[in-house]
């Protein structure tokens, strides 16, 4: 499997970063968060979220075309918004770009991006293969209407489930105020969407959950452990849980986004001894036995006992996270060269520069991963400054 960094016009500012605009590995294309900026990375369209969304989507399209594909190949989007009240405006604009077969799209609130004034960042995964693209759009009420958002999207062996919330058939979020019950409801929807796409919970590589208050993650852990209680630890999926400053559907407390791989064989979990959750059904990173895609859990600055390493040291916490990613990918038989995508969540969104600086020593400067940094309100432990979520594709056969 060849791995290629994709370049496109107007994105010169990536040259100074350990990040590529996009990375292709086999049929999959991983695109960094696109936004409204000039070639030097200076923000454009200040105060106009619709224009920003259009420019970000134009960039996404240009990158896809440079890689030999098009917007119709996009299967997964996570968009980050500094004001969730404006998610609908972004989706309105996006509807013109995705007239049919929209991707599994997860809008997420963020405290900030590269620079102030950047209101929306659009990060995507595309599948450039020949297999038909299947979109799951539940006709039952409850899934938001009139937006270019599939609940799940499948192409080839990969299924992406958009951030599921505990919506009822009438689109209400219930029960109000109850994190655990909403997490259960969201997981039930995840299961249904996987089934509609021809996959099962056994195919899930990784789960990303977003929570309105970081403290809301705590009751959700029980739900997570219940959901995976019958899964042997060597076959666990990876989990990344992030606190965010709002949800795009009012009343929602959590949303769950999932990647599944229908490649043959069991799910293989690899969890270094250095990771404190090694004795729970959460892996450091997981893939299918016959697959090449690895979903790597959001790595944090935590020692094997769960203590925060280097409290308050932004650079060294990031370095610690990258070393854990390295361990996980090496345990799967790969190397840092196989890391194709990074989404880094930061308690202080201004930290991204320091974190990218720390990332330099880990990645090949000619072909660094696609990378999207974003601000979060809280991570699992209040002492964690970053949580770094990564995807890798093994070179394999």
């Amino acid at each position: 499997m060849t791995r290629t960094a994709i370049e496109a016009e107007g994105l010169d500012w990536y040259e100074g970063l350990p990040a590529s605009p996009a990375v292709r590995a086999g049929d999959l294309l991983f695109v960094s968060g696109q936004l409204s900026a000039d070639a030097a990375g200076r923000p454009l369209d200040a105060g106009d979220v619709r224009a920003q969304a259009a420019r970000a989507l134009d960039r996404l399209q240009a990158i896809l075309e440079a890689a030999g594909g098009g917007l119709d190949d996009v299967v997964d989007v996570i968009s980050f918004h500094t004001d969730v009240r404006r998610v609908r405006e972004v989706l309105d604009v996006a509807a013109g770009y995705f007239p049919a077969h929209p991707p599994a799209w997860t809008p997420v609130a963020s405290t900030g991006s590269y620079a102030d004034g950047l209101e929306v960042t659009i990060r995507a995964i595309a599948h450039l293969g020949d297999a038909p693209k299947r979109c799951v759009r539940p006709e039952a009420a409850g899934w938001p209407e009139g937006v270019p958002v599939s609940a799940a999207c499948r192409r080839g062996d990969y299924v992406f489930v958009a951030g599921q919330m505990a919506t009822t058939a009438t689109g209400e979020l219930e029960p109000r105020g109850d994190h655990a019950a909403q997490a259960r409801g969201a997981y039930e929807h995840v299961g249904r969407m996987l089934a509609r796409a021809g996959a099962s919970i056994g195919d899930v590589l990784d789960i990303c959950s977003f929570h309105l208050d970081p403290r809301g993650m705590v009751p959700c852990e029980r739900v997570h452990l219940d959901t995976w209680r019958d899964t042997p630890i060597p076959n666990a999926p990876a989990w990344t849980a992030i606190g965010v400053p709002g949800m795009w559907v009012p009343g929602a407390l959590a949303q769950y986004r999932v990647i599944a791989d229908l490649s043959p064989g069991a799910r293989v979990a690899r969890t270094p001894a250095s990771i404190h959750w090694k004795n729970t059904p959460n892996s450091g990173g997981s893939r299918k036995e016959g697959g090449t895609l690895i979903g790597i859990a959001g790595e944090v600055a935590s020692d094997a006992e769960g203590n925060v390493t280097t409290p308050g040291d932004t650079f060294r916490q990031a370095r610690y996270c990258f070393n854990r990613i390295r361990e996980v990918v090496e345990m799967h038989g790969g190397s840092m060269h196989d890391v194709v995508e990074i989404t880094s969540f930061h308690k202080d969104h201004r930290d991204w520069e320091i974190v990218m600086e720390a990332g330099r020593e880990f990645f090949d400067s000619d072909s660094p991963p696609a990378w999207t940094p974003t601000g979060a309100t809280g991570l699992w432990n209040p002492g964690y400054q970053h949580e770094i979520y990564a995807l890798a594709v093994l070179e394999g056969s």
Partner: protein, 353 residues
């Protein structure tokens, strides 16, 4: 829903709130322009003060709320130009949202129109504040405001990185020092507002606050603690602002209100922003009653909300409650959380007669 820019005058004091972009305009104007919006906010503040018989030079306390911590310096530049010198105690805070989508900054201020001299201090322990358009403490008459203090050394480096309680201790020692330099003492502090980079740290700060500074229960002082996404400099984990009344007769009363715990120990009306807003205002009313005041005496209100839906609910309830009389100068913003998970609102009020 938005909140009108309002000034309330009581005696020689003028309280102003929410001078950021308002919904009267079709959009936050000028869009995406932090400096332009800051100038507009200072224009609105100056105009309200002028109507009350004062000017920007009378401002002794300023709280600026920012959509992004990276814009604080730009608003500082505007403030430096607008104030010229004798800066107020200025507390800048990044928040998760402001009431009007697209709003980048809003201001809340207290001015003293009296003849007494305005006394501005910056202690030597935080020399770096001389580079800011802000005083660490600003006193006029009996009233002293202490700007939000951080755990920092004289050069502005963060003290005890990653240690929230350590930074709190350092910051509260600065509050104490500024009180003393201004001829007051910690005993004169009537209210503390603190901002935290993670709301989960608030309990560890409470131990420092009570055991080392204000005594059990905070000695009856009003203390609001809210989580925010960013402070002035990287690595700063908390910020502590104080309202100090050094007079023998209390001019001001301060009060807080948040949805309390119910009989089962969990927050009341979990998940119901409107019922929680009513509970928060009831708690505020009870807190005011302790000082012999009522909601009608509230002259300035700062409210923090977990999301937009919670803000809308609190604005509706507040308008209803204040409907009959003069509305307070009200500034609202989004927070990442307050004392307990599930509390959707945190109210902080100053009352005066």
């Amino acid at each position: 829903m938005t909140l009108p820019s309002v000034a309330r005058k009581v005696g020689e004091l003028v309280f102003v709130g929410g001078t950021g972009p308002s919904a009267d305009a079709p959009a936050a104007a000028p869009p995406g322009d932090v400096r332009g919006q800051a100038h507009a906010a200072f224009d609105a503040l100056a105009e309200l003060l002028e109507t009350a018989g004062g000017d920007l030079g009378d401002v002794i306390d300023l709280v600026s709320l920012h959509a992004d911590a990276r814009t604080i310096e730009m608003v500082f530049e505007v403030g430096r130009e607008r104030f010229g010198g004798d800066f107020p105690a200025w507390t800048p805070v990044a928040v998760t949202a402001l009431p009007v989508p697209g709003a980048l900054v809003t201001l809340s201020a207290v001015a003293h129109l009296g003849d007494a001299p305005k006394r501005c201090v910056v202690p030597d322990t935080i020399m770096w504040w001389h580079d800011l358009p802000a005083s660490a403490g600003c006193r006029k008459g009996d009233l002293l405001f202490v700007a939000g203090m951080y755990g920092s050394d004289a050069d502005g480096n963060v003290n005890t990185p990653g240690d929230h309680a350590g930074q709190a201790r350092n910051a509260l020692n600065r509050v104490k020092e500024i009180c003393e330099l201004s001829g007051a003492s910690l005993g004169d502090v009537v209210a503390v507002t603190s901002f935290h980079q993670d709301p989960r740290w608030i309990p560890s700060v409470a131990a420092v606050y009570e055991e080392e500074f204000f005594g059990a229960g905070g000695g009856g002082r009003a203390w609001s603690a809210v989580g925010v996404p960013g402070l002035l400099r990287l690595g700063m984990l908390g910020q502590y602002r104080a309202v100090v009344d050094a007079g023998s007769d209390a001019t001001l009363a301060a009060a807080t209100g948040a949805p309390p715990a119910g009989e089962d120990g969990d927050v009341v009306h979990r998940g119901d922003p409107e019922a929680q807003a009513r509970a928060a205002f009831e708690a505020l009313e009870q807190s005011l009653a302790g000082a012999g005041m009522s909601l009608a005496d509230v002259v300035q209100l700062a409210s923090f909300h977990i999301d937009a839906e919670a803000f809308e609910a609190a604005a509706r309830v507040g308008r209803e409650l204040f409907g009959g009389g003069d509305a307070p100068a009200w500034t609202a913003a989004g927070m990442t959380g307050t004392w307990e998970e599930g509390q959707q609102h945190a109210l902080h009020a100053l009352a005066a007669r």
